[in-house]
Symmetry: C3
Subunit: 350 residues, 3 copies
Amino acid sequence: MTERGYTLSELAPLVQAELVGDGSATITGVASLPTAAPDQIGFYANSKYHDQLLATRAGAVLIRAEHAQDCPVPALIVKDPYYAYARVASTLHPRERAAPGVHPSAVVADDAVLEADVAIGPNAVVESGARIGRGTEIGPCTVIGRGARLGENCVLAGGVQIASDCIVGDNAIFHSGVVIGADGFGFAPGPEGWRKVPQLGIVRIGNDVEIGANSTVDRGTLGDTVIGDGCKLDNQVHIGHNCRVGAHTVFAGCSALAGSVTLGSWCMIGGQSAITGHIEITDGVTITGMTGVTNSIHEKGIYASPLPAQPVRKWRKNAVRFTQLDAMSRRIQALERELAELRDQIKQDD
Amino acid sequence: MTERGYTLSELAPLVQAELVGDGSATITGVASLPTAAPDQIGFYANSKYHDQLLATRAGAVLIRAEHAQDCPVPALIVKDPYYAYARVASTLHPRERAAPGVHPSAVVADDAVLEADVAIGPNAVVESGARIGRGTEIGPCTVIGRGARLGENCVLAGGVQIASDCIVGDNAIFHSGVVIGADGFGFAPGPEGWRKVPQLGIVRIGNDVEIGANSTVDRGTLGDTVIGDGCKLDNQVHIGHNCRVGAHTVFAGCSALAGSVTLGSWCMIGGQSAITGHIEITDGVTITGMTGVTNSIHEKGIYASPLPAQPVRKWRKNAVRFTQLDAMSRRIQALERELAELRDQIKQDD
Amino acid sequence: MTERGYTLSELAPLVQAELVGDGSATITGVASLPTAAPDQIGFYANSKYHDQLLATRAGAVLIRAEHAQDCPVPALIVKDPYYAYARVASTLHPRERAAPGVHPSAVVADDAVLEADVAIGPNAVVESGARIGRGTEIGPCTVIGRGARLGENCVLAGGVQIASDCIVGDNAIFHSGVVIGADGFGFAPGPEGWRKVPQLGIVRIGNDVEIGANSTVDRGTLGDTVIGDGCKLDNQVHIGHNCRVGAHTVFAGCSALAGSVTLGSWCMIGGQSAITGHIEITDGVTITGMTGVTNSIHEKGIYASPLPAQPVRKWRKNAVRFTQLDAMSRRIQALERELAELRDQIKQDD
């Protein structure tokens, strides 16, 4: 606990660290190297911050073996300081949890099932047939729709909406404004307008998934929209209907999948990038920010498309040239041909 | 109803279909051709799935006349199988509706008007002077602002916000997190900062409009923001103040209109595309995904601007060249001139 | 007040205007020049609308001195008509405010502090330790988290979420669906998946900040995310963790800052543009719409990157050429070299 803190000797085994220095010092929190006090621990992972390491007053530093000799304070030697830092920070600063129980202002249907230690916040709503797993916390004004099922130890912030029949695994963290299971975007055009195609599938979310504020995942049309274990979605991400996302794939802010995309595991989708519908992207693909993907990607790697920002006058000239690019290419071809002809002619003249 | 089902003879007239085969079979639901059981109906519209047609175990297939001879099961012959499918699916799987009535936890102002068969969900709020049309359903934690008016048979999911005085037609479907009528983005710059320009108009939405999760439509500055009949907005779409959108125009996910755009009817705006303020786009224009539109479009057609994603090393080289594009163009021009001069010189030499 | 109205003699000193014409006319509202009635006031700032000025029936026009002779009705002569208009419009059309008091359906923690004249709407939630400043209005179904603090005279619409411990200054206007203080996007990759990095900072928002519908500002990792005084954010803007935004910077709809961006004051960020993480942008920078910024900007000015929309057939050819741009550049270089060689050869031949 933060108040009591942990000694370095207690923290070391949590992260399989070798302790160099006095293990009896008590650590109560994490901090960055320049601001850390003697009861706080920091991490060092990037040689750019070497000066900060040399000057730190932290109680200890999580650090790789090859840098430990430069550490002016006790060191916890680990393979991956940032990964270890995440573990230590979570231990020293556990998420404050709501007390179990149903707030009197919440509306819980009679036939909803709440497992042990569930916390339902003020003005939340749990509709008929929903099931909330052990230790899960539902924030204020959050709505769990008919027949939806949440796993254990989930934390849903205030103002989250889970639509009917959707299924969420254990340890989910959904931030405010997340909408799971709204209808996918399906309409058939006809002479009098667009006719709605009923969205009959659900959303199925694995374990250990975190979804950022105001992100949306639409329900499937006939089958389901599936988000694999360990996926992490930043804010304002949009996942269209029928997408299937492999495990441990991450989405930066404002990125979007159109419908029926099959996306591999351990992919990284950059901010404000967009992936068009009905394509497949294999495992381990990274898409940089603001990139548009319109074709399937079968080879692991990094893919990009955006143009760099330029001062507006330079940009304006170049952007106009872009609209002439095909013509430019044909002019180059013509030049190559004419130059070759000229050369031939000169040779003959010689 | 799903439980009872419909015979093929009952379904055929709903979609002006010619039935080929036994009309007495009962159909209880829709499914895709590969998964459909004998009490389910599918559709066939794309020759890419010809194998699935040949192998289907569906109870019937909605299909065009020219493909009907390949259908191994009873066929409902129609002009547009997907459009007919939408109708049949809606009939077999009607949206589950909330029972009429006001949930005791909802807060409805004394002078709000609820027409017959209105359903107001738990913890919803209907403010003073609002009017809700017959058969309309307001989801949990949804807020209808002062003086707002909703038509008949609308379905507002949980967590929707309709700001004061906005007007919505009949048969609207608004998904969770939709915000209608927030202030438009209007500020006048002055020496001490930006001064707010009051947004005094409303949002006026036609009949048969569907709006996806977390989309926003801002109220007008002096006049109104108008969304025409039959428009469909996907998730996280943003419509700025004073826009006027014609009937049956559709917006894919994360697309945006800046302020004061006049957009025609039957347009299709691709995902994550953006249309700059104060321009006009005529009827029947399609904007592909991730396209930026900065000038008015007076001619029907398809418009695009995004670049294709490439492996990052190729992309980096090409993106750098883009910043030199104007210079490249001038070098081509110089080459053309110099080559012509050289040719002239050689001619003279001859 | 709108009902009573103001005489022109009363309005003139509010905007340091020189009145030309009869000051006794009563003005009850604002309108555009073509629609204004004799009890309404308009403004004239753009010579594009000169015909509208000549034909207006408005009760008065806010106008610059050099145009006043063309004004057919009483004129209020000011330096900046639009800025003056904003002031007059706010005076004639004050925002309708909720009556102070706590709605019986709201849930306010016993130890939350509500200063004088606070209004808490139906089904709103104010959690333990929160503090709401004098005259602030909390909309329906809005949630103020544990220990959060709001200044005076703020207006939070319905469905806003302020997470624990975040701090908001005076005169904030937050529209529906705004989420302040959700966890930033921080995960450390490990062999078994992404481990959450606790987000221990808060969001700190200055005075006079307006934030549009469904925008999100994430809390800091160790330090805070900071939005300066007078900033204005349009709808669906995303500000990542640890960003520091200077005073009076404005963000158009759907723009995004990734994490740890330091952005100056008086910047203008265009719609759907995105700024990558860990960079610095100086004061007074304008980023046009749909621009991606991936490097720090140290010089004031306008920056851009998007390509113009083109008819799809032209675009397709040009976009393909873009993927060959580096090769094109090398072909130009080769041509230049070969042409020079040929010229040398001819010279030698001569």
